[in-house]
Symmetry: C2
Subunit: 211 residues, 2 copies
Amino acid sequence: RKVLEKNDEIARLNRALIEGHGLFSINIVSSPGAGKTSILERTIERLRGSVRIAVIEGDVQTDFDAQRVARYGVPAIQIVTHGGCHLEAKLVQDALARLDLKELDLLVIENVGNLVCPANYDLGEALKVVVLSTTEGDDKPLKYPVMFRNASVLIINKTDLLPYVSCDLETVRRNALQINPQLRIFETSCTTQTGIPEWCRWLEERSRRPS
Amino acid sequence: RKVLEKNDEIARLNRALIEGHGLFSINIVSSPGAGKTSILERTIERLRGSVRIAVIEGDVQTDFDAQRVARYGVPAIQIVTHGGCHLEAKLVQDALARLDLKELDLLVIENVGNLVCPANYDLGEALKVVVLSTTEGDDKPLKYPVMFRNASVLIINKTDLLPYVSCDLETVRRNALQINPQLRIFETSCTTQTGIPEWCRWLEERSRRPS
Ligand SMILES: Nc1nc2c(ncn2[C@@H]2O[C@H](COP(=O)(O)OP(=O)(O)OP(=O)(O)O)[C@@H](O)[C@H]2O)c(=O)[nH]1
Ligand SMILES: Nc1nc2c(ncn2[C@@H]2O[C@H](COP(=O)(O)OP(=O)(O)OP(=O)(O)O)[C@@H](O)[C@H]2O)c(=O)[nH]1
Ligand SMILES: [Mg+2]
Ligand SMILES: [Mg+2]
Ligand SMILES: [Zn+2]
Ligand SMILES: [Zn+2]
């Protein structure tokens, strides 16, 4: 398909630019409202003293998420797709031109809330992080498999809600590892901060610039 | 766009077939895991004695949802899109051919979990019902507006979780009505059954076949 070929070409340019500056980069994906921005807020709070972070936000409409992130003092660029259900490499390329990559250690791209289409569009990131909230149900890795197969990390978020939903953590893990045995799994809550330190340590280790 | 024109042509045929048999039909849409199938289960439990219901399920992979619904003794056809992020009229046309419409009062189509793309594809249904769970956040009507604009009904589900999430029902209603002032709004919980009777009554009133 011509569209994906063109997208992948630009993604390769993005990756060369990002990695050329020694940056680590992640593309965070999930259903709408799984907690991508909340996890970002917790992460920036904890890492902003040791890691220089910039965020590229992707949304169908509004700049609410960039506003939330900008409150923490990090550069945040909002891409509004005006109906597009996923980010594409060209949109990220334009956003990268507005950042000073020499001054950064970590680039986070938060994608449009959609558990299907973003799985197929490389943006030039080092890896994809898929967020699944406990409230969505434990069958999602089997029902929406491509996203879990193409991700390197799974964050199971909203573990504070486990007592009130019919989601079994072991089932989520088993289903996710059945689709992708290489997945590195974190369990977090943005309300209680459970699991956030482990996730931040993993991210910080990879964000170290070569000294 | 040629794709949408062709889709709308088939949707018109579907609608003529469905309405020609005196059936009411709804297309239920939401993010993954908002509770579409759970609401269907509660609805069928309550209406199966008075309304003859059939369900067409759409998913990227698996037939789990059709299996859940079939347990209640209603005809359930599973469409697997193998990666497609939304149902299209052609897939529904094929499914309709497998149902005996003369024996039905209500047709429910459960779409693929996606708050973006299904908003643009007419399947031939009478109207769209969008489900939003309290756990997704109260900003979603503004962030994913097209789905709320193209729907006639909004069901705010999982109200039993309100004490544990930062979602304000008044804000959800205000944001949704800002996008679409005509929306008919229900508030439900599939755990406590709150709001399910009101929703079922609304559905039953419209499902009455002309005697
Ligand atoms: N109880 C609980 N609520 C959470 C948690 N994380 C996020 N939330 C809530 O979930 C809702 C959605 O969170 P967001 O961070 O906006 O989710 P998102 O994935 O960025 O949403 P989009 O960008 O719109 O797709 C908000 O009401 C948050 O307060 C958590 O760990 N526990
Ligand atoms: N606490 C609570 N949990 C609910 C409610 N409704 C559904 N759930 C849970 O939410 C999860 C997802 O429900 P489903 O009915 O599978 O959602 P869905 O929208 O059909 O999901 P997909 O078809 O995969 O997009 C399951 O774990 C349900 O048990 C509710 O009102 N309250
Ligand atoms: Mg967000
Ligand atoms: Mg379902
Ligand atoms: Zn898409
Ligand atoms: Zn799509």
